[in-house]
Amino acid sequence: MKICYTNKTDFELTSMVAKGDHDAFGELVERYKNLVYSVVLRMISDKEEANDQAQEVFIKLYKNIDKYRDEFKFSTWVIRIATNHVIDFRRRNKNNVEASNLEDLEQDVAIHQPSAEEVYLAKEQTKSLADAVESLPDMYKLPIVLYHQQGMSYQEISDIVGVPISKIKNRLFRARKLLKEALANMQRGESYV
């Protein structure tokens, strides 16, 4: 009899994968590929690289699937692995100028200074919210993307990032303020500051 994977919960699927059922993992990939890809893309900003890294995230998930416990939602676990993976990826790529550790960024409240080319491109492109989000440091970008784009709660983001809810709340508030300033600057045709 053919198994209907779509009716299974995430936890049931992970148990099936750990018993050697690859199709169960295929169902998990289908369920979470857009979430993982969009978060990785927001953090890497290069579609091809984001595709490669998102795939690697799923391979990591597969290798560690037997370690998953349902004390956290599967999506929380997935995004935690994805964000840690991107941080490791950046660490390996020395050319990346962005700070690589979310906790290191704790003290860093300034938006990164874009290069002349970035400013030029920003002026040329539509002054969109997506551009402004992209200009945010990870410590603000990640909560705002997870909260507003993925509809996650403070608690889920706190579990993913590993900081208390109060800090997540502050980062969200600060992120919105930074976005407002960035959008205002873009409308005036200035750089993000």
């Binding site: 050697g20 690859h22 990939v29 969009s38 799923f58 969200l172 508030f173």
Partner: protein
């Protein structure tokens, strides 16, 4: 005053205000132009997020991941049995190291301080815990004396004996290291051959 209202606006947008706080904020926004502008800017941002297109993974994403997963095939019964076997062998090697350490250090300690250890138990049996305290200093002094005697006797060992013990130790160590390398390389070779 208005800075505080910005935080209230954030709470408002996240649905964190009660009716009374909401009403107060709305009243303030009606009368304060700065806050009204801020409120509109934040509302626009939130609306922008709602309108922002959901990013979708590229076509062929799932099949590409599954291709790699099928190659890895970590949880099939055969693979699980193989992993279990290597874990058991690793554990045996680890236990071997442990046993060797117990034999060498435990045996050495018994040979050097066996008499003192026995007299400690004897003292405890004869005089209770109080009997422990008095002879402890004396026993410690004897132990230190034994160690220094043993160290000075080392110099009297014949060269052949020293070479024999050195070679024996290195040989055992090399065998254990080779076993460990062999066990850790096997899974890598299996992976490489499955990719090929």
């Amino acid at each position: 005053m208005c800075e505080k209202n910005i935080d209230l606006m954030m709470e408002y947008m996240d649905g964190g205000l009660d009716d009374f706080e909401k009403m107060n904020l709305e009243k303030h926004i009606e009368t304060c132009q700065v806050c009204a502008e801020d409120f509109k800017a934040y509302s626009d941002i939130l609306q922008g997020f709602e309108e922002m297109e959901m990013v979708e993974a590229p076509e062929g994403f799932t099949s590409s991941v599954m291709e790699q997963v099928n190659e890895l095939d970590l949880y099939s019964p055969a693979k699980v049995a193989e992993n279990l076997k290597s874990k058991v062998i690793d554990s045996l090697i680890f236990a071997g190291f442990g046993l060797a350490a117990v034999v060498v250090f435990g045996g050495g300690a018994l040979a050097l301080f066996g008499g003192e250890i026995l007299s400690l138990f004897y003292g405890a049996g004869m005089y209770g815990v109080a009997g422990f305290v008095a002879p402890v200093a004396e026993i410690c002094a004897t132990i230190v004396g034994n160690i220094s005697n043993w160290a000075s006797n080392l110099g009297e060992w014949s060269q052949e004996t020293l070479v024999f013990y050195g070679v024996a130790f290195l040989a055992i160590f090399a065998v254990l290291v080779l076993l460990q390398i062999n066990m850790t390389q096997k899974p890598k070779e299996a992976k490489a051959s499955s990719r090929a």
